[in-house]
Amino acid sequence: MSRRVAVLKGGRSLEREVSLRSGGNVEAALRRLGHEVLPMDADQHLVRNLREQRPDVAFIALHGKGGEDGTVQELLEILGIPYTGSGVLSCQRSMDKVVAKAIFTAEGIPTPKWYAFSEDAFREMGAADTLPEIRERLGLPLVVKPAKQGSALGISVAHEPGEIPRALMTALSYDDRVLLEAFVPGREIAVSVIGTDAPQALPAVEAVPTGDFYDFESRYTPGATELIAPAPIDPDTAAEASRLALACYEALGCRGFGRVDLMLDAEGRLWVLELNAIPGMTDTSLLPAAVEAAGMGFDEMVGRVLDLADLGG
């Protein structure tokens, strides 16, 4: 059945360019599937455009603030336009790494130990004085990241005590809340999940960066990161990664699709870092690699996610 599909992309987040690339791929897939595509930049005219164009459904290909944090989802709820991916609350929970990690911990899902602070806590309450204790409890190196950014923007690893303030400055440039997290050395594994009532974990994908950290540039420069799909890990670990991914997905109440990023440490233990409610769909992204490894094809994935578009939840 051919539908009028608004593809929401771009927007105002720092991941705008990434989103434009994801959106472009989604649009191409939808056209091949025979749908009528209405590309829409999520700018200040979005609501007006949605009212005028009256799509049957919206495919959200936005990343980061505004698009992945429940804002656009709330607008679509008000307009009564079914949309792909998770609902408002699940988006809010997954976008904020601090909230997500608290929920994972409550559910018994392993995630590296962390502490979180707002910029105000540093400026007004002397939070910096607790850094020695934090260092002691989390050990070094430790990872400093903005609570709400995707694509590794603003993330750095402090190897020595003296590097922590610098790392905090960096992270606070991208969000007014940051977390300090125990560093888990190991392999980077991503498990994508598709489905709503009976979600299915796709084969794990391993990202092998060519630099020493999977940062923004290597994520979006073809060739700078090698993706291995399925990840060359033993079947028990792969099964455990799938189980954890599904547990995260359910704990946050996700629907449609999502991607869980994990670390596999030297002892073979898995740690969940975060869940992305709207996984990247660029040519170098993890989800398309997982979809391919599952023998599914990008178009079929887009079609399935579209079929699961809904309101509420």
Partner: protein, 429 residues
Amino acid sequence: MEPVKGATTADRLAPRDPARYDRRFAARAAGIKSSAMRDLMSLTERPEIITLAGGLPDTESFPAEVFDEVWRAIGRDHRATALQYGPTEGLLELRERICGIMAEGGAEAHPDGIIVTAGGQQAIDLSVRTFVDPGDVVLAEGPTYPGAVPSFSTYEARVVHVPLDDDGMRVDLLEERIEELAGQGIRPKLIYTIPNFHNPGGVTMSLERRRRLVQIAHEREILVVEDNPYGQIRFEGEPLPSLWELDGGAGWVIHLSTFSKILAPGLRVGWVAAPAPVLRKMNLGKQAADLGTGTLNQRFVVEYLKRFDWREHVARLNGIYRSRRDAMLRALEEEFPADATWTRPQGGLFVWANLPSYIDTTELLARAIERHQVAFVPGRGAFLDGRGGHSMRMNYSFASEAVISEGVERIGAAIDEMIELQRVLGGGA
């Protein structure tokens, strides 16, 4: 399931998707990579953002009646030729007039010694393309013009930066670099410099240094590419002789300029003046690139210059830019921290500021865009060696005085936040 090494979806994606072509790109094209900064810069076009990031001349002040008159004259007298191919080196009438403009600044050139280019940008590209093999050394100011960086990268130049101060390129350090390179058996192919109102540096090379630079070029037989887009955009002080003039026809200087700043950038009409053998090679390069600069645009410039005094237009622009520069300098004085420094340009379009070393201007830009709705250009884009992290460029030619003041105030607020953070974090670790 068989593991797929380097799995991509390339084979199933449509032809408009880049993945299919990734493995086929030439090394020089593949080397132009995605960067966080470039993605940040794309946000500066959002309407609610005050942007001091661009380098746009003012085009609002170009009089409508002048535009109409030029346009009518082309339609009436030059319709067929303006729509036809032209010579690769450009219309003779235009090259004659370019010589007139150069003579105003004391630089002597002959129409046969000029090629009209698609803006000054193409003149830069042709210069690099004509002389640089992969790995060849180009000496350039640090910071250098960010728009020249893609040309340097494309032709795989190895750029060695020479620091700038208030009197322009440190020519003494230039000599040191040349010595060091000579010690390694390397002779630089080109010295690329913007002597007047440097972009992004905002400074002008002193007469003494100009003389010394030309002397060095003569002594060591190294070609100098003098990029002079802003020479006429002077609101204070006395004009200084160009390197081309000081070279006195010895043939060690290639001179680039443009109508972008003195007339309008949308015309994409610039030029290069160079010794005849160099020009012949550049002409071949230009043939390959585009056969010739748009005849219609060249004709617009000629018909404009026949009827109107470009000096009056430039004087009007300079009046506007001067007030805007003053507005920016006033705002900087009020809003920027005491330990920041910035240039006080006598012309051109830009102020370059250096912030305390703990402030990274790419991070400052993220904060400025997200929380203060203001943008500028972080300094890293003006270096090829990763420096520039504490510097920034701000443009004053495009926004109104009120907007400039507001923009600088917002940047100042973002800087203050980072200073405060540094203070509270400094002792914490």
